[in-house]
């Protein structure tokens, strides 16, 4: 959620600077991903609001209340500032015919002028990355980013008889949505209908039937609240993601609707002082019940592993304006309507823990009376691995997916939809790959193994697979470990892991051999030195002595040098030139290059 620093500050004037505020939010609430300084002078904090707070924090007022409580600084409640003219009797009728609509609040406003928005509205929307459209549409967007409540405005004169029906679609109806997209409603999707049964708008996006125009004079303000699961399904099926839909999906409290209507009315009254307001129609079939929650200071302390006093808890509850009673360390609170996340004692432990800060937790190792046993499968895997390593096999891991097999996944981001029935196929590929790199690895005979799971219909089994270019063997882990001593016990191994990983070049290598006859008193290292000095900086491996023999008072040394670049593919020509230079230098020593 993007939060405008200036917008937030209008509610909580004492907030620290954006950077500092960002840190406080990250450590006590949710991760601040970025803080962007805008050209208009504002800063925007992009906050990854956690799913359990998305119902009350996807808004500036929500964040402002949270930050004010967290930092114990003043929150300027805007409610008393909102001025809506006295309303008159209305002809508007709304009927809710589905329990997927939890509340529907609407009113008629007459005599509005559709025109550009005032500067403050344009700036606020700009900070949200939104374009200003006109004063009426902007008011609905401001409302959503301000208090989190989605809303719609229709042209009253396009709604027959001022009658509205909220129900689920029987399926198959076509609707043109704002922005010109045509969609077909499926059964059980939430929509708003006129008296003739034409859908005016869906639960997540408005339609063109009663769309505002520049000439619109009379409007219907609509504040709704829909079932989160129904909205999510609908949104997925229609392939439409809207800011409003996102808020419904996160279980918005229907208690917010009346506030939303107050704020939206006030915004329109401010922008269209000439408008007249009619009475609010409020359909709220099942009122959200007030919940109570009990917890104790002792349990909260036990969960956190931190001694939290009654006074500390009382302080937090007061800051968060949570009504409570306390008796000998046992608390009962009245859960604020917007705090749907506070359900059980553990939720209060989290609330208290995060407000105090998890840096307050002492790091004390647990003392529990548990006697661990050796895991026999892991013992076998370790034994098998160590045996193969000792026998000169190196370990690889290949993919569990294959082109064919007995177990298939329903859907995959890759073209391999089956689980492997053996490791051998992957291991053979790996042998081929490594055999091609043999000069780089400094060995002619690649020996590798993998220990992993293979999948047959209805069963999975751990296999051990090992081999070289001639032969690959695959057996079950159990079979491989037939000779494992029955009293085998895992011993700690000390690994040298300080080494830094070196990425290899992604360009092909070129290997060259050079053999030299030298007087028998000349050591191989002396020859290697001359080669090294003249082979340039593209040497990836070597010079490595791979052959040596003596004849008639002379020694023949054969070296292998592997060239490879991190930046490009080397050519034969340039490597030939390097080797010519090396040969020339060796000859200068009066050594005979074969």
């Amino acid at each position: 959620m993007k939060i405008s620093y200036d917008w937030l500050k209008s509610y909580v004037p004492e907030i620290p600077d954006a950077e500092k505020l960002g840190d406080i939010i990250t450590y006590h609430l949710a991760e601040v991903e970025t803080i962007e300084k805008l050209e208009n002078g504002d800063s925007v904090l992009d906050i990854k609001i956690l799913p359990n707070r998305a119902h009350d924090l996807l808004s500036h007022q929500g964040m402002a209340r949270e930050v004010s409580s967290l930092l114990n600084i003043k929150y300027n409640d805007p409610t008393p500032v909102y001025k809506v003219p006295t309303s008159s009797k209305t002809e508007l009728q709304a009927e809710v015919q589905t329990d997927k609509c939890r509340r529907y609040v609407a009113r008629i406003v007459r005599g509005v002028t559709v025109k550009p928005s005032p500067d403050w509205v344009v700036k606020h929307l700009e900070s949200m990355g939104q374009r200003s459209i006109n004063n009426i549409v902007d008011a609905t967007n401001i409302l959503m980013f301000d208090c989190g409540q989605p809303s719609h405005v229709y042209d009253l004169d396009k709604v027959k008889d001022s009658k509205i029906f909220i129900k689920t679609s029987p399926g198959g109806e076509k609707i043109s949505l704002l922005g010109g997209v045509e969609k077909e409603l499926e059964k059980d999707m939430i929509a708003i209908y006129d008296v003739d049964g034409h859908p005016i708008c869906t639960g997540i996006k408005g339609g063109v039937l009663a769309e505002l125009s520049d000439n619109t004079k009379n409007i219907i303000l609509q504040i709704d609240n829909f079932d989160p699961v129904a909205v999510r399904k609908m949104s997925l099926k229609l392939g439409i993601r809207t800011e409003g839909g996102k808020r419904f999906e996160n279980d918005l409290s229907p208690e917010l609707s009346s506030y939303g209507m107050l704020e939206l009315s006030a915004l329109i009254a401010e922008m269209c002082p000439e408008a007249t307001f009619e009475d609010i129609v409020d359909v709220y079939p099942v009122k959200q019940v007030e919940r109570k929650l009990s917890f104790s200071a002792v349990r909260v302390s036990q969960i956190l592993g931190l001694d939290v006093s009654v006074a500390q808890i009382e302080d937090i509850l007061k800051r968060y304006n949570i009504a409570y009673t306390e008796n000998a360390g046992s608390f009962e609170i009245v859960v604020p309507a917007m705090r749907l996340d506070l359900v059980m004692e553990e939720d209060m432990a989290e609330e208290i823990g995060r407000v105090m800060g998890y840096d307050k937790l002492d790091t004390k190792l647990p003392q529990v009376n548990f006697i661990p046993k050796q895991n026999e499968t892991y013992a076998k895997i370790s034994w098998a691995r160590n045996k193969l390593l000792a026998d000169g096999y190196s370990e690889v891991m290949t993919y569990s997916f294959a082109d064919s097999g007995e177990v298939e996944v329903m859907q995959s981001a890759s073209d391999k939809k089956f689980l492997r029935t053996n490791i051998s196929d992957g291991l053979k590929q790996s042998i081929k790959l490594n055999q091609a790199n043999a000069p780089l690895l400094g060995t002619e005979n690649i020996k590798i193994f993998e220990i992993g799971t293979v999948f047959a219909k209805g069963a999975e089994e751990i296999h051990v697979c090992f081999g070289d270019k001639k032969n690959v063997t695959e057996v079950s882990l159990a079979d491989f470990c037939k000779d494992m001593p029955s009293d085998f016990s895992l011993e700690p191994t000390n690994y040298n892991t300080e080494t830094k990983f070196t990425m290899w070049p992604l360009y092909p290598f070129i290997a060259r051999d050079v053999a030299v006859w030298v007087p028998s008193e000349v050591e191989s290292s002396e020859v290697a030195e001359v080669i090294k000095e003249n082979a340039g900086d593209m040497v990836m491996r070597g010079p490595e002595l791979f052959d040596e023999f003596k004849k008639e008072g002379k020694t023949s040394y054969a070296f292998r040098i592997v060239f490879q670049s991190y930046e490009r593919t080397l050519t034969d020509i340039e490597v030939n030139e390097i080797m010519d230079a090396v040969t020339a230098k060796l000859k200068e020593k009066n050594w005979q290059v074969r």
Binding site: G305, R354, N375, F449
Partner: protein, 248 residues
């Protein structure tokens, strides 16, 4: 390199870096009283999702994110997925342990997990996850502070004595409170794991009474530790079968 070293190198093979890291991690947790737990890679919907209090309509259950197995139908115990974490393994171990009267208990599980996603330098369809769980009676008082101590010791062992860790607020269906674990490595805070106090719903799903037992659980990528510790630039390198990876 002298010829003696050359013979030694020829004699013994080289371990895969993730096996090395897993073994080191197991050793670190064993020293703190954890028992190694292993479990199936093909997991039931029940242990992969339901036990962990993942809502029926949670997006993690979507086919776009999870590999569901064709032809596995019926209830949550029969429907199969490729496990998306190894929390399923520690949950199985804790449940089994409790039935055998092993309470308190502490399990650590490292294993291959699967996510149906497009691969890039930091995402793979298969990778290794490390998951741990410690649970005890309310009197044992296994707490969030205990988890911080355990993970501090673990990351010091894995990334060096100077490593610091911190908890930041988070949310997971299987924990309450939930936290994100960050480790400070070479002056930078890096996100390493998620965890928290095991949600009472999870405790209930494992057949235990949340009024009587409490504990913590955590989980995160092993590949991630390898990439941070050694500077391996691309997660896909671990599964290419290329021996140039085996540098340790």
């Amino acid at each position: 390199m002298n010829s003696e070293e050359k013979t030694a190198e020829k004699k013994s093979g080289r371990i895969h870096p993730l096996s090395l890291l897993a073994d080191e991690a197991y050793q670190a947790f064993s020293e703190m009283g954890f028992e190694v737990a292993l479990g199936p890679e093909l997991e039931s919907e029940w242990y992969n999702f339901d036990v962990l209090n993942v809502a029926k309509d949670h997006p993690a259950r979507d086919m776009q994110d999870t590999f569901w197995i064709k032809g596995s139908e019926g209830d949550a115990h029969n429907k199969k997925v490729l496990r998306t974490h190894t929390t399923s393994v520690t949950a199985r171990a804790t449940e089994k342990g409790a039935k055998e009267g092993r309470m308190p208990s502490a399990f650590i599980s490292i294993g291959k997990v699967f996510r149906n996603e497009a691969t890039d330098a930091t995402h793979e369809m298969q990778f290794f996850q490390i998951d741990g769980s410690m649970i005890g009676t309310v009197e044992d008082g296994v707490s969030l502070a205990n988890m911080k101590a355990v993970l501090t010791k673990f990351y010091k062992k894995m990334l060096g004595e100077n490593t610091e860790i911190e908890f930041r607020p988070s949310f997971f269906p299987f924990t309450e409170p939930s936290i994100e674990v960050f480790a400070k490595f070479k002056g930078k805070w890096l996100e390493m794991m998620g965890g928290g106090m095991t949600n009472p719903a999870v405790i209930r799903n494992m057949g235990l009474d949340p009024n009587k037992v409490q504990g913590f659980c955590f989980g995160g990528g092993l590949d991630r530790i390898a990439m941070v510790k050694w500077g391996v630039p691309d997660v896909r390198l671990f599964y290419q079968g290329d021996l140039r990876l085996n540098q340790f």
